[in-house]
């Protein structure tokens, strides 16, 4: 059984945010506007978070692309009263939008704050709704949504492999953000396979996890910059 994970090399990342845009387009995430952003209601399954070290003389700004961490021990699924957020046997933390009652307990329990809520019925600029991705459900008013590692792509890749009578290859399934990254700073693959790129990179001396001390065991691994 695969254990899907991601490695993000911060040395290579140029913070161009192409991954953010690719994610919005791939997953039918409604487009934000200044008003929504000001109200703190934009949805970004993948978001750039700024870390500012503002103490002289080490003044510095860092940007960190943040998808869902897909924790092995996710605090969000424990608290869901209806089992609308679950971890799959391959380690992907998903959200069942059709079951979610919108209590937002998971959004408050997530220490990374990666879950988003649909405050209104999602809307697109006129004409844009014709370009939605048919593989991903458009969410409704009042439910929670989150990064799924583009698991619809996994389903598609698996179907294709089965049709062609072959095993699922290492490059068959990658999320939209990884595919888009122009700097090739993002890697995706099976962390359970010791020979996979992500597996080898995860053992690098530069590897670190976001808030590792919380014991959530994230499957998104960062490689630190400037080392």
């Amino acid at each position: 059984m695969a254990k899907w994970g991601m490695v993000i090399d911060l040395d290579k990342c140029t913070a161009c945010q192409a991954c953010v845009v690719a994610c919005q387009a791939e997953n039918n995430v409604p487009i934000s506007n200044p008003e929504t952003a000001k109200a703190g209601r934009s949805i970004h399954w993948l978001e750039m978070i700024p870390f500012v070290d503002d103490e002289y003389p080490h003044v510095r700004m860092r940007l960190l692309p943040r998808p869902c961490m897909h924790c092995e021990n996710p605090p969000c699924i424990k608290v869901c009263p209806v089992g609308a957020t679950q971890i799959s046997s391959e380690g992907i933390v998903g959200q069942i939008n059709a079951r979610c009652i919108g209590c937002r307990y998971c959004t408050t329990a997530c220490p990374y704050t990666v879950k988003y809520f649909n405050w209104f019925k999602p809307e697109w600029p006129k004409g844009m709704e014709r370009y939605l991705n048919p593989d991903v459900t458009v969410r409704y008013n009042g439910v929670v949504e989150k990064c799924t590692f583009c698991h619809h792509r996994l389903q598609k890749a698996r179907d294709l492999a089965q049709y062609e009578h072959r095993e699922l290859g290492p490059d068959d399934y990658i999320p939209a953000c990884v595919q888009t990254c122009p700097a090739e700073a993002m890697y995706f693959g099976d962390l359970g396979n010791p020979k996979s790129t992500v597996s080898i990179l995860s053992q690098s001396k530069r590897a670190f996890l976001l808030m590792e001390d919380l014991g959530t065991h994230p499957k998104v691994i960062y490689l630190s910059e400037g080392v």
């Binding site: 943040r66 209806v82 929670v144």
Partner: protein, 465 residues
């Protein structure tokens, strides 16, 4: 003392609010109904457009509604718990106040539950809680214990009502069918009284662990997460203490209003307010002790993510709410309740009003600052409640008061039979009890004269303190 005359006086005075209604009553009901209607309008607006009409955002996913939920469930501890403890402790001064306390519990729980429903993004899917319910989630613990609490409190309110309902069936000449059905064929035989009293004692004992569990699991909703200043082992008892604290305050306000509106000065006396005020002062000290422990441990440990929340409360964006809470829950009650001269009815009501406001702020101060200060450095949306949230808060309060007012118009708000029983048996019982505490040798023998004298002295004594 002429017992029969006293009984007649009790019945006449205590049934008067049910039999007669003046203009002020109708005006009050109309005003309250208007506020309730406005609340409904606000809710339908939210239902149609989504939770976006509130001031909530990311990361402040929970705001007014969850604050109200914790607050209302806290207020509900007034009744059942206090009444049960007073009954078990055989506190004789309880007789006039238990009913008004129990009604608060039953009525206010509905608004705790309603607050949760208001907070749901998809209230239409509420049945999923039963269809897909997972007991691993603290929300399911809440659903379970609140359901049990509501059931038990309703039974506990209804049982001591039966003899009074039967009285109304016999004496009042309105709504006879309703009272006949609810009286369950009560005729007042000694056997029935014996059974009723057994049932009440059983319920009084049963309801205490349920009440404690309710507020404990409400706190667990927060404490079970790993968020800064929520993940705290003190939360269970802290919330229970806070609940009883705000509950007693609500009870004192309700009693003062009943006494004032229905002219029940003879029944809800200064001594009742004094005793409850003393109890409230004990709770003030307990609450302050818990608050102090909670904040000192956080401060001394000084973990950065916790300190972020800590400073947001102490001198950051939530400083007004935080220091307002300290003023309302510690300073004002501390001054007014510790001093016998200030612990008058007015003083108690003033302190209680402050505590009610302060405890609402306390719930807010627990829910929002933690969410507003997530661990990662995101853009923080500032939380300001919208008109919808304010309207629903007002609507809940008005609806609760309306239900309470209507209750007093259907059932006696001071238990008639318990007062009568007190006149008939309790005086002798208490004298006997006191005698049983004393050394057996040279004890005063049963003597009616002595008994009456003891009682008279006791009454003067209590009256003078």
């Amino acid at each position: 003392m002429d017992l029969k005359k006293a009984f007649e006086h009790d019945e006449k005075t205590l049934l008067k609010p049910i039999l007669e209604s003046n203009r002020n009553y109708y005006i009050t009901v109309c005003l309250l109904s208007l506020v309730v209607a406005w609340g409904f309008f606000a809710y339908f607006h939210q239902l149609r457009n989504g939770l976006g009409v509130t001031g909530l955002n990311r990361p402040v996913y929970w705001g007014f509604y969850i604050t109200n939920f914790v607050f209302f469930i806290g207020i509900s501890h007034a009744g059942t718990l206090i009444s049960a403890i007073l009954r078990i402790a055989q506190a004789e001064w309880r007789r006039a106040i238990t009913r008004s306390a129990e009604v608060i519990t039953v009525m206010v729980i509905f608004f705790g539950v309603a607050s949760i429903l208001m907070d749901l993004g998809r209230p239409d899917r509420i049945m999923n809680i039963i269809k897909f319910g997972r007991f691993e989630s603290p929300l399911l613990w809440d659903v379970t214990s609140i359901t049990i609490y509501l059931t038990a409190s309703t039974v506990y309110l209804f049982l001591p009502l039966i003899p009074d309902i039967a009285l109304m069936r016999d004496k009042a000449n309105k709504r006879k069918w309703l009272y006949t059905v609810l009286a369950l064929g009560w005729t007042g035989t000694p056997r029935q009284f014996h059974r009723l009293e057994t049932a009440i004692s059983v319920m009084a004992i049963l309801v205490i662990p349920v009440a404690v569990s309710v507020h404990t699991v409400v706190s667990f909703v927060f404490a079970m997460t790993i968020q800064p200043m929520w993940h705290s082992a003190i939360f269970g008892p802290y919330f229970v203490v806070g609940a009883i604290y705000s509950g007693i305050a609500a009870l004192i306000i309700a009693m003062a209003l009943i006494r004032w509106v229905y002219h029940l000065e003879d029944y809800l006396k200064d001594i009742h307010f004094n005793n409850l005020g003393t109890l409230l002062f004990v709770m003030t000290l307990l609450w302050s002790y818990f608050t102090f422990s909670e904040y000192l441990t956080t401060f001394y440990g000084a973990e950065p993510s916790h300190m972020q929340v800590f400073w947001a409360k102490f001198n950051g964006e939530f400083r007004f709410e935080f220091w307002g809470m300290i003023l309302c829950c510690l300073v004002i009650p501390g001054i007014f309740l510790s001093n016998r001269k200030l612990r008058t009815i007015k003083g108690c009501v003033f302190a209680s009003a402050a505590i009610t406001i302060g405890m609402w702020l306390e719930r807010f101060i627990i829910v929002v600052p933690t969410l507003a200060n997530p661990r990662l450095p995101y853009d923080r949306g500032v939380y300001h409640p919208s008109w919808v949230e304010l309207s629903l808060l007002a609507g809940c309060f008005a609806f609760f008061i309306l239900l309470y007012v209507l209750f007093t118009k259907f059932f006696p708000i001071v238990s008639i039979w318990e007062i009568q029983e007190g006149r008939k048996h309790a005086v002798a019982e208490v004298a006997g009890r006191v005698r049983s505490y004393l050394p057996d040798a040279y004890n005063i023998k049963n003597d009616v004269d002595v008994e009456t004298k003891t009682f008279t002295n006791a009454e003067t004594f209590i009256g003078n303190t």
